[in-house]
């Protein structure tokens, strides 16, 4: 059974050049983000009303948040709304940031709560737990990396929202278990449990995840 989502979906974003994707260097910069010390300094300036610092922080986070939220909601307009809601809070509450955690954890904690509300308001049906889904999403034939990524996107949609967010925070954004627990405001063991169940479901839906593929970058 092949349930491949339509390429591109309904994301009003522009495509990159013909080579596709960003360079590994750019991606590494994106994943690493600006340094925590720099972000703390930006937060201090934002608390003092510095819009330039606010703009810098916004641009530092926009891409990864857009990707995270678009994958989560499948709609860029919703993702953009959540991003701006999140940074509205950053602008108004920067003075409340005490530095107990990294700015990225604090900001993604806000984004997590905003995204959860937006997601539940607009797509309750996607929260259905498909424990009983018997069929894998993929075919028997080896899939290309692109196809597998599409299938993975569809498989993620079958996960409960909390599990899906935990997966994305771990694999996509590279957060530690403790950071995810802070972002999701739950115990560390809850994070591990959510990922445990998510991993089991994803492997059932995508058995090819466990198969070695040519050109795999990881």
């Amino acid at each position: 059974m092949l349930n491949r989502p339509a390429p591109g979906g309904h994301l009003p974003v522009r495509q990159q050049g013909p080579s596709g994707g960003t360079t590994p260097m750019a991606e590494a910069t994106y994943r690493g983000g600006s340094s925590a010390a720099r972000e703390v300094e930006l937060m201090r300036r934002i608390a003092a009303g510095d819009k330039r610092a606010f703009e810098e922080l916004y641009h530092a986070y926009h891409r990864r948040m857009a990707r995270f939220l678009t994958r989560l909601t499948r709609r860029y307009d919703v993702a953009e709304e959540v991003i701006n809601d999140t940074f509205w809070v950053v602008w108004t509450k920067a003075g409340d940031f005490r530095g107990d955690s990294q700015p990225s954890t604090w900001i993604f904690g806000i984004a997590y709560r905003k995204a959860r509300s937006a997601f539940r308001a607009s797509a309750r049906r996607l929260e259905e737990n498909l424990d009983v889904l018997p069929e894998p999403l993929t075919t028997e034939t080896p899939a290309s990396q692109t196809e597998l990524r599409d299938w993975l996107g569809q498989a993620l949609e079958t996960l409960p929202i909390e599990q899906r967010m935990a997966v994305q925070l771990c694999y996509e954004l590279g957060h530690s278990c403790e950071e995810i627990a802070t972002i999701m405001d739950c115990p560390v063991n809850t994070v591990k449990t959510r990922l445990f169940h998510a991993r089991a479901k994803l492997q059932r839906l995508l058995p090819q995840l466990a198969e070695p593929r040519a050109g795999e970058s990881a």
Binding site: V13, Q16, R63, T70, E80, N84, A94, Y171, E172, A210
Partner: protein, 225 residues
């Protein structure tokens, strides 16, 4: 490597962070040591790395941040001042101790204080007065007007006859109290005490006169018990 259930379960749970490189050095060493001797965990680690690679792969799309940021700035700039006061970081909105403030609140407080003080003074004055009210004064009527009351059943015509016979005329109506203020009918100006005493004597002779207000210094002249 010896596989213990606890070590296996713990390692299994830690594999996502071994794949994304976020374990501490100590945790990583422990998990990697277990994975080397556990084919099941080794396969799972491969799956985890595959999953991590797929989800963190370079984007094929880009997201334009500038238009979104402009929208957010417009929202911030359009925010009502009241919302900004309550939501913006405190250091930017904290007023200096000597800063000028609108006087509306001070005016309102002053008004309330003034009204309260006025009410308090009025209440204090009222409480300082006797509980009864004096409706007549002693001196003035005694020297200018003689107050007379007639039998209650006396018709108005007979009241006039009594007054005419005694040589008196009404200068103050009874006003529902049954008491008339009278002076000698011949008086054109201020009436002295002797004229009033003479008039009282004439009225007192008529049995239909029930009560005559005593003049100052006189004995009570009323017929009422």
């Amino acid at each position: 490597m010896t596989r213990t259930p606890l070590a296996h379960e713990e390692s299994w749970l830690q594999l996502p962070w071994l794949a994304n490189g976020r374990l501490t050095l100590e945790e990583r060493a422990e998990v990697e040591a277990h994975v080397r001797g556990c084919p099941e965990c080794a396969r799972e680690l491969a799956t985890q790395r595959s999953l991590q690679g797929l989800l963190s792969a370079p984007d094929t799309v880009s997201y334009a941040a500038a238009p979104s940021f402009r929208k957010l700035l417009q929202r911030i700039d359009a925010a009502p001042a009241a919302a900004a006061d309550s939501a913006a970081p405190k250091p930017r909105h904290r007023l200096a101790p000597h800063a000028w403030r609108p006087p509306g609140l001070a005016w309102a407080a002053t008004f309330v204080l003034t009204v309260s003080l006025g009410l308090m003074v009025a209440t204090t004055y009222r409480w300082s007065q006797p509980a009864y009210r004096v409706t007549t004064t002693a001196a003035a009527p005694a020297s200018a007007v003689l107050h007379v009351a007639f039998e209650r059943s006396l018709p108005v015509g007979e009241v006039g006859e009594v007054l005419q016979r005694a040589g008196a005329r009404v200068v103050e109506g009874e006003g529902g109290s049954g008491v008339f203020g009278v002076v000698p009918a011949t008086a054109n100006g201020p009436v002295d005490r002797a004229q009033l005493a003479a008039l009282a004597a004439r009225l007192h002779r008529d049995p239909r006169v029930r009560w005559i207000e005593p003049l100052a210094g006189d004995a009570p002249a009323a017929r009422d018990p």
